[in-house]
Symmetry: C3
Subunit: 351 residues, 3 copies
C-alpha cells in the first residue's frame, strides 16, 4: 500500500505553506467513513457537523467553509479536485510489473521499454506495444495490432488483428475490439458474409469499458475519437465514427456507419440506427432510439428520439390522456343534448 | 457420467418405502423425451396420456394424480421439487478436479483445501480462495481478491483487485467484476478520470451471469446483497447497492449509486438512472426506465416507469388514440353545425 | 499479405476473357481511397466522376455504367457481389496456423486433421474439434464439447460443457456459450437453482457475435438454427429455439423458452418475453418489446410490439396529442357558449 507524508501531499497540491509535516497518509475516504490515516473532503457548508465528527487525518474544504476547530482542515480552491489529485497518488495498476514468464509473446512482436505483460496474456506476430503500456493477464493482442504508450489493456480483453490504439488508451476487462461485425448479403439461400477488411482506430486518451465491443470497418476505419469515454457493454458497429470527447454510457448500441459528433453524450441503453449522423454537443436521454439525424447542440429524448421539449410535452399529454378521453366522452353527451335541445327549438310543434 | 440406483434416489427424497431396488438411473429428462435410464415428472392430471407413453424409468407424480398402471410412478408431495432434488445429483462441475499444472498461481496466493484451479487460470498475489471453490480455465483472480468457500468462477471471468466474494458465489463465464467504472470530471479540455478506489462486495449465495459487469465503488463499496441472482449481460455501476434476494434479469442496466431493495425484481433490459432508490419487493416490467424513486411494494412499468395500473391505462388510451382523434374531428363538425343552426335561430330574419 | 494477379482474379470471377495479365493486386478498397494495388467497385452511374478520379488498379462496374476511358474498368453482372468474391481472397484468419505449443489440450480431446489451436487456448477432456477448425488464443472448449468442421472460435470465447457446434460455425471473441442460465425456484427463504442439465446446439453456418451469451437448456436443447446470424452482446436464454437464417441484431434479449421462426429479423435491442412464439419471416423494429406471439410474416414495432401500421398510426397520433388537447379545450368552451346561447333561446323571458 502506498503511503505519503502530509508534506508530500501539500507539494502535490502546490500549496506553498508548510503543513502537517511527516504524518503518514495511506489513502483517501468519504467524510463519514475515512480512517485516521485517510484524507477526506467536504464541499458544502451544511457538511460542517460531519466534518467535525469525521475521523479523517485531514479534511479538504473551500475557502468560505465555516470555521472548524475540532479537526485539521486545509482550505483550497476546489476541494473536490484537490481530493482527486490526492486520490490519484494512491491508484495502483495491479499486474503491471514487467513481463510475466507465463505470457505468450510472439518473437516478432515489438515491445518498447517498460512494457508489462501479465500471465497468460498473448501477443501476436508483428504486434507493437508502446513504452509504459500494460497488457493484463489473459488479454489477447492479435497479429499486427498496434498499441501506443502508457496504455492499459485489462485482463481477458481481446484486441483482434487490425486494431490500432493511440497513447494512454484504456481497454477494460473482457472487451472485444476489432472483430468482424454484422455484414451479410442475402444470396439465394443464405446470408453471405461480407468480408470485413477494415480497421479499428482508437485515438489517444480513449477509455472502453468492460465487455464492450467495437467492430472493425468493412473497408476503411471504425474510429473512436480522441478523449472519448465508453462505458460497459456498449456496442459500436463497423464503420462508425465517434467524435472527440464523446461519452457513450452503458449498453449504448450504435449500428453500422453511424456518426456521433464531438462532445456528444449518449445516455445508458440508447440505440442508434445505421447511417445516422448525430451532431456535435448533442445530448440523448437514456433508452432513446435515434432513427433520424440530430443537429449540433440538440437535446433529444424518446422513442423515436426527438427534441426533448416536444417529447416531454407529448409525454405529459399522454399521462393526461385517460382524463382527456373521459372529457371527450362527456362532451359527446353534451353535444347530443345540445342537438336534441336545438331540434326542439327548431321544430317546437313536434315536442 | 454419474449413476445412482433407484434405492439411492428414494433415500435422496427421504422416501422410507423400499422401492425400485438396484435399477440404475443415469439422469433426468422431460416426460416426452426421457430415456429408460432417466426419471421424469408430471404435474398436471392432463399429462396422464403422456405419462403412459413415456419411456422413462420412473415418473414422479403428485398424490392425487390419476391411476397409472402402464408405467412405474412414485407419488410425492411436490413432483417438481422432488425432480429438482434428483436432478442435482447429476450436476457435475466440469473442470473442478484440483489444481491444473497449466494454472498460473502467484506464490503469495492463499488456496485453502479442496480448491480447484483450471488450466490457464491466473491467481494474483495475496488472493485468497476458500475451501471447495473452483476457479475455471482462463479465469482471472486479481491481486488481493478474496473468494469464500464453495464458490464457482467460470472460464474467462475476470475478478479485478478490490473484489470480495462470500461463500457459494457463482460468477459465470466472461463476467467482469471490480473494474473501474464510469467516473469522470470535465477539466478544461478533457474528461478526467476520477480514481475508483473502492471495492466490490458480493455476498453469500449470489450468482452473476455470463458477460455481466459490476464496477468497483469510487470510494466505499458496490454491494450485491446475499442471495441476489443476476442474469447475463447486466451492468451494475459503481457504488450501487443491490438488496438481498433481488433478481436482475438479462441486460438490466443500473447507473451509479443507485439502490435496489430486498426481494425486488427488475425484468429484462430495465434501465435505472443514477442515484435512484428502488424499495423492497418492487417489481419493474421489462424494458422500463426507472427515473424516479419507487416505494416498497410498487409494481412499475413503462418509460418512465410508473405505477403499472396508471401505465396500462395510459397505454390503453394511446391504442385508442387514433379513434379518439377521429371522434374529436367529428365532434368539431357537429359543433360547427350547432353553431350555424343556433345562429339561424337567434337571427331568424337573416336566414 | 496475400497477392493475386489480375488474371487470377478474372478466373475467380469466372470471366473467360483475358484481362490484365500479371499485374499484382494486394487488396480491395473503397472507390475514393483505393490504392493502385487495390480493386474498387461502383454501383450507381452518378459515381462516374469518382470512378474517373479513383487511384484503384481496376474498378468493377455494371454493364450499363457510362463509358470510362480514364481508368481500367471491368463490366460485370453485379459489381458488389463480384467485389465481395475478390475481397474474400484477401481474408486471412489470424492465429490459425496449427497447434501452438502454449495451448492446453487434454490428452482425451480428439482433434481432427488441420485443426489450429492458439496460444493459451484450453481444450477439455472428451472434446472433439472437426477438421479445418480454428480455436483462437485463450478460448475455452469445455469437456465433451463437440465442434464441427471449418469452425472459427475467436480469442477468449468460452464454450462450456454441453455445447455442440455444427460445421462452419463462427463464435466471436468473448462470447459465452452453454453456461447455466437463469433458472431458479423460490424455496422458503432463497432462490434455489434449478439445475440446467440440457445442451446448446448451434447448427451449421451460424455466426455468434462478440460478447453474446447462449444458455444451455434446463432439459433438452437450446437451438440456434442453421444459417442464423447473431450480432454482438445478444442474450439467448435457456430452451430458446431460433429458426434457420434468422437475424438477431446487437443487444437483442430473448427470455427463456421463446421461439423465433425461420428468416425472421429482430433489430437492435429488441426484447422478447419468455414462452413467446415469433413466426417465420417476421420483422421486429429496433428496441421493440415482444410480449405476445407474432404470426408468420408480421412486421411489428413498438412497446409492446404490435403491427407496424397500427403502431405508427398511434405514434403519429401521440405526436399530435398536445394539439388535440388544445383543440378539445377550445371545443369545451364553444360547447359552453352554445349551452349558454341555447339557454337564452329556451327561456327568452329570463334574459
Amino acid at each position: 500500500m502506498a503511503e505519503f507524508t502530509l508534506q508530500q501531499i501539500a507539494q502535490r497540491l502546490e500549496l506553498d505553506r508548510e503543513r502537517g509535516g511527516d504524518r503518514v497518509i495511506r489513502g483517501v475516504g468519504e467524510i463519514d467513513h475515512a480512517s485516521p490515516e485517510q484524507i477526506a473532503f467536504a464541499e458544502s457548508p451544511d457538511m460542517l457537523e460531519r466534518v467535525k465528527r469525521s475521523a479523517a487525518a485531514l479534511v479538504l474544504v473551500s475557502h468560505d467553509f465555516p470555521e472548524v476547530t475540532e479537526r485539521p482542515v486545509w482550505r483550497v480552491e476546489n476541494p473536490r479536485i484537490a481530493f482527486l489529485k490526492i486520490a490519484e497518488l494512491f491508484v495502483r495498476r495491479h499486474g503491471c510489473d514487467g513481463i510475466h514468464p507465463d505470457a505468450s509473446i510472439h518473437p516478432d512482436a515489438r515491445l518498447e521499454a517498460d512494457v508489462s505483460v501479465g500471465p497468460r496474456a498473448v501477443i501476436g506476430a508483428g504486434a507493437r506495444v508502446g513504452s509504459g503500456s500494460c497488457i493484463g493477464a489473459g488479454a489477447f493482442v492479435g497479429d499486427g495490432v498496434s498499441i501506443g504508450r502508457d496504455c492499459l489493456v485489462e485482463p481477458n480483453a481481446s484486441l483482434l488483428a487490425g486494431t490500432e490504439l493511440g497513447d494512454r488508451v484504456i481497454i477494460r476487462a473482457n472487451a472485444a475490439i476489432g472483430s468482424e461485425g454484422f455484414g451479410f448479403a442475402w444470396m439465394q439461400d443464405h446470408h453471405h458474409r461480407i468480408p470485413q477488411l477494415g480497421r479499428v482506430v482508437i485515438e489517444d486518451d480513449v477509455e472502453i469499458g468492460c465487455g464492450s465491443c467495437v467492430d472493425r470497418a468493412t473497408l476503411g476505419v471504425t474510429r473512436i475519437g480522441r478523449g472519448c469515454k465508453i462505458d460497459n457493454l456498449v456496442h459500436v458497429a463497423h464503420n462508425c465514427d465517434i467524435g472527440r470527447h464523446a461519452l457513450l454510457l452503458a449498453q449504448v448500441c450504435i449500428a453500422g456507419s453511424s456518426r456521433v459528433g464531438d462532445h456528444s453524450i449518449l445516455s445508458g441503453q440508447v440505440g442508434v440506427s445505421d447511417h445516422i449522423s448525430i451532431g456535435n454537443r448533442v445530448m440523448v436521454g437514456g433508452q432513446s432510439g435515434v432513427t433520424k439525424d440530430l443537429p449540433d447542440g440538440e437535446t433529444a429524448w424518446g422513442w423515436p428520439a426527438r427534441n426533448i421539449k416536444k417529447a416531454m410535452r407529448e409525454q405529459a399529454a399522454v399521462s393526461r390522456l385517460p382524463d382527456l378521453t373521459k372529457q371527450v366522452r362527456h362532451m359527446e353527451k353534451r353535444i347530443e343534448e345540445l342537438q336534441a335541445a336545438l331540434a326542439r327549438l327548431e321544430q317546437p310543434e313536434q315536442t
